[in-house]
Amino acid sequence: MDLLFPLAYLLAAVLFIQGIRRLSKVRTAKSGNTLSATAMLIAIVVTMAIISGQAAWPFIIAGILIGAGIGLVAAQRVEMTQMPEMVALFNGFGGGASALVSLSLFFSMYLAHEGGTYRFFTEGAPISSASSGVSAILGLVIGAITFSGSLVAFLKLNGTIKGNAFSFPGRNAINAIMLGGPVLLGLVLCFTHLAPATVMILMLVVLGVSLLVGVTATLPIGGADMPVVISLLNSLSGVAASMAGFAVQNPLLIVAGSLVGASGLILTQIMSKAMNRSLGSVLFKDFGGATADRGGYTNIKESSAEEVAMLLEDAQRVVFVPGYGLAVAQAQHTTRELAQLLEARGTEVAYAIHPVAGRMPGHMNVLLAEADVPYEQLVEMDDINPEFKQTDVTIVLGANDVINPAAIHEKDSPIYGMPILNVHESRTVVVVKRSLSPGFAGIPNKLFDYDNTVMVFGDAKKVLTAMVAEFKENA
């Protein structure tokens, strides 16, 4: 029987590995998710069996029912357009859970044995060795940063906090001190024998400062960098779980946590690369935004839905470029409707997907999939860029920085070198946008001045609806 539980844990670990592997291919992704969920169920049941002798069942049952209920309702109600903030929120709860685990481990031993006879690193104590003490501190710090950082990301993504970069002088130095402080304090706590009450208070200080670091580190990061930040927070929640695994010396926790840590890191790399920025510059450098240069346009040509509809009637090939504005306007279904009308006339239609369009990795793919856009029509940047020259009309829906030719031509531009969609090479570019205000980079878009660009001002959904109506009328 001694082998049963470890083997069950091993089975869960293997299922997690298979699950993640299958999630990286379209064909197998669904089964991958099911495998991971099964592994989780095994992990929970086995852990319950292990502690069943001394389990505090009322706490366990209450926690499971409340948590599962909230998670289920939230996951079923959320709109596809709100997916980025929902993922950020769930991620925050994962990090928060790891922080609470660490806190509980420290509290458990001091409160259970008042008078201080039960010291750290003694046999049978919840924290029985120096390594698990250090891990618990790291789990507390990383978990708390993940929690508050994800909450800030959530608030930024749903618009409660403005997405603009907000910064203050010396923030990196302050954050470094605030990050180093709790870790040092925690290490000191691990190796000294202070009064239980003092330890508990100091642990709460560590928690509080870590939460603050999560806020001050995430707040200054602009909305356009959100895909990078969300991926990184995702990675951190895995690392926090791994640390909790070291603290309670559970190999399954270590394995699953580090798998998540690694996968989050890969996504972070992909996202940083797509913006031509290093992870360090996303996190530590102020970016654009500050000047908010709105002017300087000399050649803006305003058009209307009617005129664009006429333009589309003669087009052989039309490319849609979705951006965050499409998600905000929830215009994915209307876009699909217009595309279908075009296809019915024999027009070739494609969607150009920039890797960081939107606010999370793959955001546009999810949105357009919801509107039943065929997978083959979503074309990645490198594949579609050579094709813009043969495109009659490119319709930009709420994208801005990812189509700014300044990235190619202007050496002193903050986005110089960032890979963009070369929409300016198509015969006509129609930019549907609410105003001339800059994107998150805070710089003017030279594309708007190009001779082959026309602007249609307004909400993407309303403009598209008008185009669809016009199209049906003329047909």
């Binding site: 997690f16 998710n33 991971s36 992990a43 502690i51 998670g71 996951a75 779980a241 946590g257 798998l259």
Partner: protein, 105 residues
Amino acid sequence: MDTVTIQQAMDAFRPLSVGLFVFALAIFLGYELITKVPPTLHTPLMSGANAISGITIVGALYCAQAEFAFLANLLGAAAITFAMINVVGGFVVTRRMLAMFGGRK
């Protein structure tokens, strides 16, 4: 002076060293598993991996033991709640997203 045998020294490090081995190997494994992910799957992969990070529920359950103090149990219950939101919410949301991709094949 007490002499420490090599065996004793090894034993003292065993839990940590095994853990570190597992940690390092799992990170490399995770990295190799998904180096090439199509952009369509970036969101579901992130959200699915996010659900897996709820594995910290194992640690949370460990905290809810009767021999521990009330406050520790209470924190454990809060950790279980948080982790379950992450786990259930994460898997359900991922399934919803993937269902859309599979809808028209």
